[in-house]
């Protein structure tokens, strides 16, 4: 009995230890593809992180308004989700910038322009309530995410640093999800399951298509 268990137990325990060591390393780069070029261009990486941070700050500020001023509970939940996702991304990118010793503060003129843009958005939302507030805020989110996706997709091809590439890929996917949620809320449709709705998972779409075909 003991010999029957000892060998497989030792093998799996070894696997357990190896993967534990990988886990303790706490590197999001686990998810990156091997073989990425590590000859990073710090200027491009810093620029990408600045764009990411600016988008996060804009969405965090505007989501704080929507979290308390939106009427529909699902819009408030979406605002909360945006807030939390962007805070997590910002935390990650600040950690990465520190590790890579990159300066994320933009030039003074650019910083002032960004602050003015946030003030302009807040002025647009001022005085709006209920559905008119939601419509305006969702339009802002749609526009903001579309722009962010375009900018990040362009920068992603230029960034060489593996961790930064992993982070921007992650941020792009999350932005896609946010944009999909914005569209759902703009259409004011109920949530769908099993083939209903544009955000239905791919595997369910495949299954339902297979079920329909003769």
């Amino acid at each position: 009995m003991r010999s029957r268990v000892r060998i497989p137990a030792a093998i799996v325990a070894l696997a357990c230890l190896i993967s534990s060591a990988a886990a303790v390393a706490d590197q999001p780069a686990w998810f990156t593809q091997p073989g990425a070029d590590v000859s990073a261009n710090p200027r491009v990486t810093a620029q990408m992180l600045r764009v990411l941070r600016w988008k996060a700050q804009l969405d965090i500020t505007l989501s704080q308004h929507a979290r308390v001023r939106a009427d529909r509970p699902e819009v408030r939940r979406y605002a909360q989700r945006l807030l939390r996702d962007h805070q997590l991304i910002e935390e990650r990118l600040l950690g990465l910038a520190e590790r890579l010793d990159l300066e994320l503060r933009p030039p003074a003129a650019e910083e002032e322009a960004q602050a003015e843009r946030i003030r302009q958005h807040i002025r647009q939302l001022r005085g709006l309530t209920g559905s008119s507030f939601e419509a305006e805020w969702l339009a802002m989110m749609a526009s903001s995410h579309r722009t962010a996706i375009q900018q990040l997709a362009r920068l992603r091809s230029e960034v060489q640093e593996p961790e930064a590439r992993a982070l921007v890929r992650n941020a792009l996917s999350l932005s896609d999800q946010h944009l999909a949620l914005t569209r759902t809320l703009q259409r004011q449709q109920p949530l769908g399951v099993l083939g209903v709705g544009p955000n239905t998972p791919l595997w369910i779409q495949i299954l339902t298509q297979a079920g329909r075909s003769p």
Partner: protein, 176 residues
């Protein structure tokens, strides 16, 4: 199939499902506490599981969505519990069972991280990439819970654990 064999099969399924439910609940609780502490949102783990069915819309769904996520998680956890109970039906000791369960959970983590989740649960995948250590840790919690399976199998079979295989060979004198 003889009645004794049936009883053994039922004991393995019952013990596996029960230990899977216990382990899955522990895992879920750990994930939810972590999500709350790190300000990701207490219900996020269940919403992410529900995204299997609802897609990204699950992230803004109501209580029904959370319930679907809970049921899905528990059913899957019970299923993995049955698999583990079947693999360890020969009844290793609790210590060996714990090592095997942790290794099983690690293997599960690998399969989930690199094969299953990216394909069927992209909504979950994009967020576990941001908290990789917690993602691994909750699988270890699941493994620790699964270690109950062999003990429960003996219990459901209605007999004390048979240690004769580990005892001294018959006929040899005891050391004392």
């Amino acid at each position: 199939m003889t009645p004794g064999r049936w009883r053994r099969v039922l004991a393995v399924v019952g013990a596996g499902a029960f230990s899977g439910l216990v382990a899955g609940s522990l895992m879920l609780l750990t994930a939810m506490i972590h999500a709350e502490v790190t300000d990701l949102g207490f219900w996020l783990p269940l919403r992410q599981v529900a995204a299997l069915w609802f897609g990204v819309d699950a992230l803004i769904g109501d209580g029904g969505v959370i319930l679907v996520g809970l049921l899905t998680h528990l059913v899957v956890a019970a299923g993995w519990g049955i698999v583990f109970a079947a693999l360890t039906r020969s009844g290793p000791s609790l210590g060996v069972s714990l090592v095997l369960a942790l290794a099983f959970a690690t293997a599960l983590w690998m399969v989930m991280t690199w094969v299953v989740v990216p394909v069927v649960a992209p909504v979950m995948y994009e967020r576990i990439r941001l908290v990789p250590v917690a993602w691994y840790a909750i699988h270890l919690v699941f493994g620790a819970g699964l270690a109950l399976a062999p003990v429960l199998t003996w219990f459901f079979e209605g007999r004390p654990r048979d240690r004769t295989e580990e005892a001294e060979p018959a006929g040899e004198p005891a050391l004392a």
